[in-house]
Amino acid sequence: MKIPVLRIYTLGYLLFLYCPIVILPIFAFNDSTALAFPLQGFTTQWFHNVWNDAVLAKALKNSLLVAGATAVLSTIFGTLAARANTRYQFKAAAPLMGLIMLPMVLPEIIMAMALLVVLLSVGIPLSLFTIILGHVLVCTPFAVAILTSAFQSLDKSLEEAAYDLGEGPFSTFRLIILPLVMPGIISAMLICFTISLDEFIVANFLGSGEPLLSTFIYGQLRSPKNVPNIMALGTILVGVSVILLALAEFFRRRGLARTGVKDSGGFL
């Protein structure tokens, strides 16, 4: 019998990928501030602390606001760019798309500091709004990537049929195209929401001291007695992320099924 070396390697690799996340819930319920074996017994103390933390509640509220605004704005920007690039041929498309997609490879610190320099010199005070601006910049390329594949899988003859039946461009977009790419739009919004919720570097540079989830977590990790609370919070966040991503994946697949295209892979 042939030994499935590749399969074993891949499973080992998945173990490596999941290792840090699997450890989170173990210590979230462990009755000790030291993150080490042997385990000290079961407690829900850390979850109580998380639930009753006023600063955390504020950070959560701010993060949800920022992530929600980022998701909506990036998806609108992403839809416009993806539609323009897939539907029309024009010379400026390549350089403009290059610029729009640049944040995907640019180190976040470079983007964050460049934005900081300009915002301060123009005299815009740092606030949640400036973080939203930064996050939209970071998230738009992901929205464009998801929506480009949604628009590419559209059958052009459907659109032409609508024109032939007397519909104008706007009603065609609303009646034919929008419903077909809607799963892509929802999926893009969920992904952008998740990215914004987790993002730290831009939030740290462009924040005014108002707590966000990521900056709150970073601050808490500095004092050992708060670390177990972060394990509990992390467990909750991982759960929420997985649910949001499963939803995004569900909508993406439904979108592909709706347009009748073979499924060829994940989000990117």
């Binding site: 590749l6 029309y88 403009l96 610029l99 944040p103 470079i110 460049a114 320099v117 992320s241």
Partner: protein
């Protein structure tokens, strides 16, 4: 079906329609990305004033000893060296470059077999599930993920306490605060960025080419070396760039894993921009870092240009 002749022409030509549609996103990117990057470049050749930036051209942020402009307009030596002349900046730059290269090599080499497995050995209907499984850990809080590595490898952490509990070791292994620890953490953080482009490139390979190779008497391994690997190089190159470039900008891992003991160039940028408030020097270091990264990337692309020919 050809273009209908009676198509309403509300949106004018292709170019006009396309430009109109892309313009909100493009204007946003120009204002908040292109302009700030240009401003960083300009700032890097300006004079640092106390908590301000004085529009006075000089190259000291790169090459010299800087002077600052005092309230009465005279110039006073400020006592810091430029990004290229300061040995500390040079050391950090070199370290960042080495760490980024190690991370890139580790990430891409570890990721290739995984991408290969999912593309060639997994049934088509189950591929999306595998890709989903691979991307999930990537979408959980970056700060927490990095910190969890610290929890695992620290002196009193998970691995050491488990090994001691099992009486495998008596003294804890020294793993944290090392470059290896940072490389592992970052290779973990960027895993999906390497797997996905390689997977996409592998998926595009025409399977009949592989059969042809084997029909002509090549072994499986020879077919891999002569057909699969060269055809998947576009994905490998994309993976290398998409891991290498952002890694230079990471300052969370050096702080949490290196314990601040092994700072990298991004920590220096953060310090200058946020704490020391020397934005001209911070800008000059950032521009230098991007130049170095850009140069390395271009050299890498040139070395691999034969794989990119005729492919898009």
């Amino acid at each position: 079906m050809s273009e209908p002749l009676n198509r309403p022409r509300f949106w004018g030509s292709q170019a006009a329609s396309g430009l109109a549609l892309i313009s909100p996103t493009a204007v946003f990117a120009i204002l908040l990305l292109a302009a700030p990057l240009a401003a960083t470049l300009v700032y890097s050749v300006m004079t640092d004033g106390y908590l301000t930036v004085i529009p006075r051209f000089q190259l000291c942020n790169y090459i010299g000893e800087c002077h600052s402009q005092l309230a009465d307009g005279t110039m006073a030596p400020e006592g810091y060296l430029g990004a290229w002349s300061d040995p500390i900046v040079r050391t950090l730059m070199a370290r960042s470059l080495i760490v980024s290269m190690l991370v890139t090599a580790a990430t891409v080499l570890l990721a290739y077999p995984v991408a290969y497995f999912v593309s060639f050995n997994v049934e088509a209907s189950r591929k999306p599930l595998w890709l989903f499984m691979i991307t999930i850990p990537f979408w959980t809080s970056y700060v927490i993920r990095v910190f969890m590595w610290n929890v695992m490898i620290s002196r009193t952490g998970v691995i050491n306490s488990a090994l001691e509990g099992l009486h495998i070791i008596s003294d804890p292994l020294q793993m944290s605060f090392t470059i290896q620890a940072m490389v592992i953490t970052l290779a973990h953080a960027y895993a999906p960025f390497a797997i996905l482009p390689i997977y996409v490139a592998l998926e595009k390979i025409d399977r009949s080419l592989l059969e042809a190779g084997q029909d002509l008497g090549e072994t499986r391994f020879a077919t891999f070396l002569r057909v699969t690997l060269p055809l998947s190089m576009t994905g490998v190159i994309a993976a290398v760039l998409i891991v290498f470039i952002p890694t230079i900008g990471d300052y969370v891992t050096p702080n949490l894993i290196g314990g601040g003991k092994i700072p990298m160039i991004a920590n220096m940028i953060e310090k200058q921009m946020l704490k020391a408030d020397n934005r001209t020097l911070g800008s000059a270091i950032a521009v230098t870092a991007m130049l170095v990264v850009g140069l390395v990337s271009v050299v890498f692309l040139l070395l691999n240009r034969r794989y990119l020919k005729g492919q898009k």
